[in-house]
Symmetry: C2
Subunit: 348 residues, 2 copies
Amino acid sequence: MTVTLADVAARAQVSPATVSRVLNGNYPVAASTRERVLKAVDELDYVLNGPASALAAATSDLVGILVNDIADPFFGIMASAIQSEIGGPGGRAGGERLAVVCNTGGSPERELTYLTLLQRQRAAAVVLTGGAIEDAQHKAAMDAKLRKLTDAGTRVVLCGRPQAPETGAIALTFDNRGSGRELTEHLIRLGHRRLGYIAGPEERTTTRHRLEGHRDALAAHGIEEDPRWTVHGRYDRRSGYEATLELLRRDPSLTAVVAANDSVALGACAALRDSGLRIPDDVSVAGFDDLPFSIDAVPALTTVRLPLTEAGARAGRIAMGREEPPPGGITSVRGELMVRGSTAGPRG
Amino acid sequence: MTVTLADVAARAQVSPATVSRVLNGNYPVAASTRERVLKAVDELDYVLNGPASALAAATSDLVGILVNDIADPFFGIMASAIQSEIGGPGGRAGGERLAVVCNTGGSPERELTYLTLLQRQRAAAVVLTGGAIEDAQHKAAMDAKLRKLTDAGTRVVLCGRPQAPETGAIALTFDNRGSGRELTEHLIRLGHRRLGYIAGPEERTTTRHRLEGHRDALAAHGIEEDPRWTVHGRYDRRSGYEATLELLRRDPSLTAVVAANDSVALGACAALRDSGLRIPDDVSVAGFDDLPFSIDAVPALTTVRLPLTEAGARAGRIAMGREEPPPGGITSVRGELMVRGSTAGPRG
DNA sequence: GACGTGACAGCAAGCGCTTTCTATGTAGTC
DNA sequence: GACTACATAGAAAGCGCTTGCTGTCACGTC
């Protein structure tokens, strides 16, 4: 039924070993023989059996990319960048590798299970993107799993995720705290003193770091924070809309709203408009990430640009062993403040 | 070094066969034995060797999802929906399957190579999303490849992609032509007679169908189209921006611009604003897809909502054999016109 | 002319799992 | 109590490929 290596060998009148060598090209084969084999492969329309070859060679060409939410461009952009460096067909890498994107949906169990599945497949490398979940038990389980993966020779790279010491993973983290601070400082410099903050889900590192940065800035400028000024939600527009209404209800005198990311900021803008408030005249709005649509918001969104593409590409290269990991296995990249029309000094 | 089935068997004092059966749960095993095995698995921290099991069982649990551009939410949303039904960890399906998203970047070679790679891995199913490339030669190669996959027992589902007869694939197509017609008719009803059209890349089916629908509408209303009114570009905001400037240059009297998708429409809006034109007072703008950010544009974008999530979920279920394919192996879903603030009657 | 030396090609032993077929113990039946 | 039937466990034959090792030539070389 299906064509095997042996069939090709028979047709080319050589041994299976020779066919294998032609296909893998890591052993000298006479040109004439190679040609004969290739011809047979072509004629029989032979396709290598991946599992069999992975089993025999004890390695596979799978590379896993874990993302929290594939529908979110934040992850899509990173995944795309990582993949372009992984090789995959058309990539610049030599061998053809199957870069597989796994969508965890932010669920701890899924995250862990995907890692097990990749471990099962003996993945060549794994890249984890985005914030981690802060639950201690889950973190311990993850770290143990990562440790096992690295021990088994799988290269593990974290992209935009905090370092996990003792796991052997390479970390390219975003300086969410520093960037968050910078963003809020920008608003404070503009004269804002009453700032609402729409945070992401509670248990994420990204959420916490950005919020900490925000609070650092407030503290540094002697602004005492009102607990009513912070609302937690999801990382989507809907959540931003609702959270903003809630903030307005709690304290209608807010003059600025900082959102957990750009999608949330967009929702915030919509809520403000629907409440009859002008941006930035009545309330300033700031986002995070600088996703492609952010510049098209009206007014254009002030936000922090994260080098998603660059970081992803670098993570991909490191995962493939084509670039030296940073010294110490960790490096932190700062975001860049993009000041645009959605922020201005408070009225009056 | 690595723990194998045999190690577990030894520890549990049973044969490897029994361990395998416990793990796969498709053969009666006494409760006490099962428990002993599970305990050993746990103690040894055993992880099944995927390739070995795929080889022996001649099937794998990989499911491929091909997308044109993973950074584009259009694909991200579909991929997410498909994956949620594939099972994967946490999905509702029984077995754990590895849903792998492959980013072709719209390149024909990559598309083909990814299919070969999936074929190699003996993927259980493959879902192809989005428009196809119209090049005859590539289409023939693709069809042949799909045929081979279906022949080998891999379920192939097309989601938002035109049917490929004779390949054995199931097609869930979007009625891009009908939706395009409806959108343009909406503008014509508003009184527009000079409509610019920003199309996607020339060689895509999606591009062609949407454009045909647009032209159908013009023809149906006796509007003769000026060739200057159509510009081709990519499916991104930048392209929309540039194309709009070009349209304005060619014919400043246009009263409406229809874009290939929402991202392009956003770029168009930016270009119009930068040119000092008001939306919709001076020029109406319409998009396609109704991506999440479209409602947040100012003014909100009139567009055609495509049931990405529903279609993706259905494609996923069909791929898993959990839903009957549509009769004839093909079904077409219509988009829904969403009339919002970006379109209005022309001034004067 | 005997011999070392590359350059290839083939043999055969796995890689770690699944699954058919067979063996064994236990229970039910008349 | 002998016999059939069932439930469960094991033996062993692969699945299709890779690769270490062992030839076998065809050449130089002294």
